[in-house]
C-alpha cells in the first residue's frame, strides 16, 4: 500500500486525502458549515455583547457550538482511549457525570441545599469529585479487565444504578449554589468574552496530547487493543492498561460534571448529561476510530464531537419540529457513518483512481 502511494504521489492526491482518518470529521464539518452558510450567511457572524453582569461576551452560532460541544469533546478524549484499549465502550458516562456533579455539590454545599456561601473551596470539591469519578472508572475497568466482562455489559451496571447513587449522595435533594463565581466554569469569566468550557476543553486536549507524546500511553494502549496476547508476551500488563484508560475516562467525567453543574448552578439527577454516552461514542465513531479497538486518533474524536454539536445547532436553527428532530439527526448520522465505512472509502478511492487514469489517457 505504502509503495503504491509513493509511486503515484501527486496523481493520487484525492485518494490520499480520503484515506486519512481526519478526512471524515473534517469533511462532515465542512459540509455542515457550507450548508449553513448557503442557507443563512449570518451563520459565521460573531457579535460582541455584554451579559446581565456587564461583562463582555461573544455571541453567535460558532461560539455556541464551541461552548456547548465542549462536554462531549472532553468525554470523547477518554472514550477514545477506552475504545482503543478494550475494544468496547463505556455507556455509563452520563450516569457517572451525575454522580460526579452530585458529589461536587455535596462538598460545595456541605449538605445544606440552600447554602448562601460555599462551604468549601471549589477546587477541593472538584478534587473530591475527581477521586470519586476515577474510583467508579476503576470499578468499570476492573470488571472489564480482570473479570473480562464485555465493556458494554460491565458499564451497564453503573448506567442503571448511577443516577440513583447520584440522588442518594445528596439525600435526594436538589442543592442550588447561589455563589456567582461558581458560574464561571460553565459560563464566562469576567473580562474574558470566550466561554470557559471551551478553554477547559482546550486544556484537556493539550494535556492529553502532551501525555500521549511524552509517555508510552499511546503505544501501550494501541498494542493492547490490537493484540492483547502479544502485548502480554512483550512484557505489558494489558489488564492494568485497560483499567488505566477507564480511570482517565473517569477524570474526563469529573471535568464534565463540573461544567454541567456550573452551567445551571444546580443538578437534576434524571436529566443531567442525559444520553451523553451515545454522543461520546458517536464522536469516537465519527472520528473514524475503529470501535473494535486498536489504533486511534484523539483529535479526530474531538472534531467528531463538534460535528455532533454543529448538527444539533443546525437542527435547532432551522426549527425542525420537535418530534421529527431525532429522525433528522439519525439520517445525517447514518450518512456520515456509511461514508466513513472502510468499504465505502475503498470504493471511493478506486473510483477516483479510475477517473484519474482515464484523464491521463
Amino acid at each position: 500500500m505504502h509503495k503504491e502511494m509513493k509511486k503515484s504521489n501527486n496523481g493520487n492526491f484525492f485518494s490520499r486525502i480520503v484515506r486519512q482518518q481526519m478526512f471524515i470529521p473534517i469533511f462532515a464539518l465542512l459540509i455542515l458549515v457550507i450548508f449553513n452558510i448557503i442557507m443563512d450567511p449570518s451563520f459565521l457572524e460573531i457579535t460582541l455583547g455584554t451579559n446581565n453582569l456587564g461583562n463582555p461576551v461573544l455571541g453567535g452560532y460558532l461560539i455556541r457550538i464551541l461552548d456547548n460541544g465542549s462536554e462531549v469533546a472532553i468525554l470523547a478524549i477518554g472514550m477514545t482511549l477506552v475504545t482503543a484499549a478494550s475494544g468496547g465502550q463505556d455507556i455509563s458516562v452520563g450516569a457517572a457525570v451525575a454522580i460526579a456533579g452530585s458529589v461536587l455539590l455535596r462538598v460545595l454545599c456541605g449538605g445544606d441545599t440552600r447554602a448562601e456561601t460555599l462551604q468549601s473551596p471549589v477546587i477541593l470539591a472538584f478534587l473530591v469529585s475527581c477521586i470519586v469519578a476515577m474510583l467508579f472508572g476503576a470499578f468499570n475497568g476492573v470488571l472489564v479487565a480482570y473479570f473480562r466482562i464485555q465493556p458494554m455489559v460491565a458499564t451497564l451496571i453503573l448506567y442503571t444504578a448511577g443516577r440513583s447513587i447520584a440522588a442518594w449522595v445528596n439525600n435526594n435533594e436538589l442543592p442550588i449554589v447561589s455563589e456567582q463565581s461558581f458560574k464561571y466554569f460553565g459560563g464566562y469569566i469576567p473580562g474574558i468574552p470566550i466561554p470557559t468550557p471551551f478553554f477547559i476543553m482546550l486544556a484537556c486536549v493539550i494535556i492529553m496530547c502532551l501525555v500521549l507524546k511524552f509517555t508510552n500511553l499511546r503505544l501501550y494502549t494501541q498494542a493492547v487493543g490490537i493484540n492483547e496476547n502479544s502485548s502480554k508476551l512483550n512484557g505489558l500488563n494489558p489488564a492494568l492498561i485497560k483499567v488505566l484508560t477507564f480511570v482517565i475516562l473517569g477524570l474526563c467525567v469529573a471535568v464534565v460534571g463540573l461544567i454541567k453543574v456550573s452551567r445551571n448552578s444546580t443538578i437534576n439527577y434524571s436529566v443531567i448529561a442525559k444520553d451523553i454516552e451515545m454522543d461520546a461514542i458517536l464522536a469516537v465513531a465519527l472520528g473514524g476510530n475503529a470501535l473494535g479497538g486498536g489504533k486511534f486518533n484523539m483529535i479526530a474524536s474531538v472534531l467528531g464531537a463538534y460535528v455532533i454539536q454543529l448538527l444539533t445547532t443546525t437542527l435547532y436553527k432551522f426549527n425542525v419540529q420537535s418530534d421529527a428532530l431525532p429522525a433528522y439527526k439519525a439520517v445525517v448520522v447514518i450518512i456520515l457513518v456509511v461514508i466513513s465505512a472502510p468499504t465505502v472509502r475503498a470504493w471511493f478511492t478506486s473510483m477516483m483512481k479510475k477517473f484519474q487514469t482515464k484523464e491521463v489517457a
Partner: protein, 380 residues
C-alpha cells in the same frame, strides 16, 4: 487444572455480574429506601410540612370537592391511630410509583406518600419504584401474590394494565390510581386521582391572555414528547396561539432539560428573531432559558422585556417569582396521599366513591401576587 479453575472463577464472576445487573432494581429500591430513612431522620420537619400542606389542601377542598367529602380534618391522623388501636390490624398497601429521582415533583410525591402511609396511621405499606411499565406490572403481580388490600399505582405507561388489574380484582384487591391515568376499563379501579394537565395549561394560557401584551412572540419549550404533562400543556398553548393569532417563534422539545432549553433559546437569540414570552413546560427548562437570556443581557421578569412562565412550583422557582425574575408558575400538585387516604377510609367504613376521577385543585402563581408564605406552602 489451572484453566478449569480459571473458567470456574470466570463463570462465577459472570453469574455475579448477571445477578448484580439484573437484580439492580432491587438495589435501587434499597438505595431509595436508605435515602428515605436518612430523609426521615434528617428532614422530618420538611416531611411534616409536606403532609401538613396536603392535609390543609384537603381540608380546604372538602367544601368544593364533594368526592373528598369525608373526614379530612387536621386531627385525621389521631383518629386513624385510634382506629388501628381498636381494630389492631394494619391495612396492607402496595404502592407502585415512578423513580423518586425522576424529578422534584416525584420526590415530593414520594415523601408525601411515605409520610401518610405509616404504621401510626394504620398502614402496612410497601413501595416499589420503576419508570418501566413491564417492571411495574411485575411488581403489581408480586403485590397480588402478597395479598395486599390496596394497590396504589402511578403507571409509567398508559397501556398494558388490563390483565394484571383483572387479576387484582379477582383477588379482591382494590386499585387506586394516582397521578397517571391508564387505558383500562373504569371498573378495574376504584378511583383515580390526577392532575388535569390541560387545565394547568389552560390556566397558564388564560393568565398570559390577561397580560394584554401588544404582540405575543412566544418561545415554547416542550417536555419529553408524548408525556401527559407535555400533551396537556402544549395543547392549551397551541389552541390559544391559533385562536388569538399569537406568533410562536419556536416550538421545540427540550426534554425537561435545562441545558437543552438554554441551547434552544440561545439559538433563537442568535437568529435575531424577536420574542417577548418564554412558555416552558417545567421549571428546569425555564431556568435554562433564563440563563440564556442573562448571557445575552435580555431583561426578564415583572415589567421587563421577556415574560417567563414555568410549571411545577419548585421552591426555588417560586423564589424566582418572589424576586420578580419570573412572571408565572403553574402548580402540578404532587400531594395525592390525603385524597387516597380519604378514599381508603371511606371504602373501609363501607362507603362508596361516587366519582371515579378526582381532579386535584391546582393553582397558578403570579409574581405580582405571590407571598413568602406561598413559597413555603406550595413549593416542592
Amino acid at each position: 487444572m489451572k484453566k478449569k479453575l480459571l473458567t470456574m472463577v470466570l463463570s462465577v464472576a459472570m453469574v455475579a455480574a448477571l445477578v448484580t445487573g439484573c437484580g439492580n432494581d432491587g438495589s435501587t429500591t434499597t438505595t431509595a429506601d436508605t435515602a428515605a430513612t436518612d430523609d426521615a431522620a434528617a428532614d422530618t420537619a420538611t416531611d411534616d410540612a409536606a403532609a401538613d400542606t396536603a392535609t390543609d389542601d384537603a381540608a380546604a377542598d372538602t367544601a368544593t370537592d364533594d368526592a373528598a367529602a369525608d373526614t379530612a380534618t387536621d386531627d385525621a391522623a389521631a383518629d386513624d391511630t385510634a382506629d388501628t388501636a381498636s381494630s389492631g390490624e394494619l391495612i396492607k398497601v402496595g404502592i407502585i410509583n415512578n423513580n423518586p429521582n425522576e424529578s422534584g415533583y416525584r420526590t415530593a410525591n414520594d415523601n408525601d406518600l411515605k409520610a401518610t402511609f405509616t404504621e401510626e396511621n394504620g398502614y402496612d405499606a410497601s413501595f416499589s419504584y420503576s419508570n418501566v411499565n413491564d417492571e411495574q406490572i411485575a411488581y403489581a403481580q408480586t403485590f397480588i401474590q402478597n395479598e395486599v388490600d390496596y394497590l396504589l399505582l402511578s403507571a409509567a405507561d398508559t397501556a398494558g394494565w388490563d390483565s394484571v388489574l383483572t387479576d387484582a380484582q379477582n383477588a379482591g384487591i382494590k386499585v387506586i390510581l394516582f397521578d397517571r391515568v391508564i387505558d383500562a376499563d373504569e371498573s378495574l379501579y376504584e378511583a383515580s386521582i390526577v392532575s388535569d394537565m390541560e387545565k394547568e395549561g389552560q390556566t397558564a394560557v388564560d393568565w398570559l391572555k390577561g397580560q394584554g401584551l401588544e404582540s405575543y412572540n412566544i418561545i415554547h419549550l416542550q417536555g419529553v414528547m408524548g408525556t401527559a404533562a407535555q400533551k396537556g400543556r402544549s395543547a392549551a398553548m397551541d389552541a390559544a396561539a391559533a385562536s388569538e393569532g399569537w406568533n410562536i417563534v419556536t416550538q421545540q422539545t427540550a426534554e425537561w432539560n435545562a441545558e437543552t432549553a438554554q441551547q434552544i433559546v440561545q439559538s433563537v437569540i442568535d437568529s435575531g428573531q424577536e420574542f417577548n414570552v418564554i412558555y416552558a413546560e417545567n421549571d428546569d427548562m425555564a431556568r435554562g432559558a433564563v440563563a440564556a437570556l442573562d448571557a445575552a443581557n435580555i431583561s426578564h421578569g415583572v415589567g421587563k422585556d421577556v415574560i417567563i412562565m414555568g410549571f411545577d412550583c419548585n421552591k426555588w422557582a417560586l423564589q424566582e417569582l418572589l424576586d420578580q425574575n419570573w412572571n408565572y408558575d403553574g402548580q402540578c400538585n404532587p400531594f395525592q396521599s390525603s385524597y387516597i387516604n380519604d378514599i381508603i377510609k371511606t371504602l373501609e367504613s363501607g362507603g362508596t366513591i361516587d366519582q371515579k376521577t378526582i381532579i386535584m385543585d391546582e393553582k397558578g402563581f403570579d409574581a405580582t401576587e405571590i407571598t413568602a408564605d406561598d413559597v413555603e406552602k406550595y413549593g416542592i
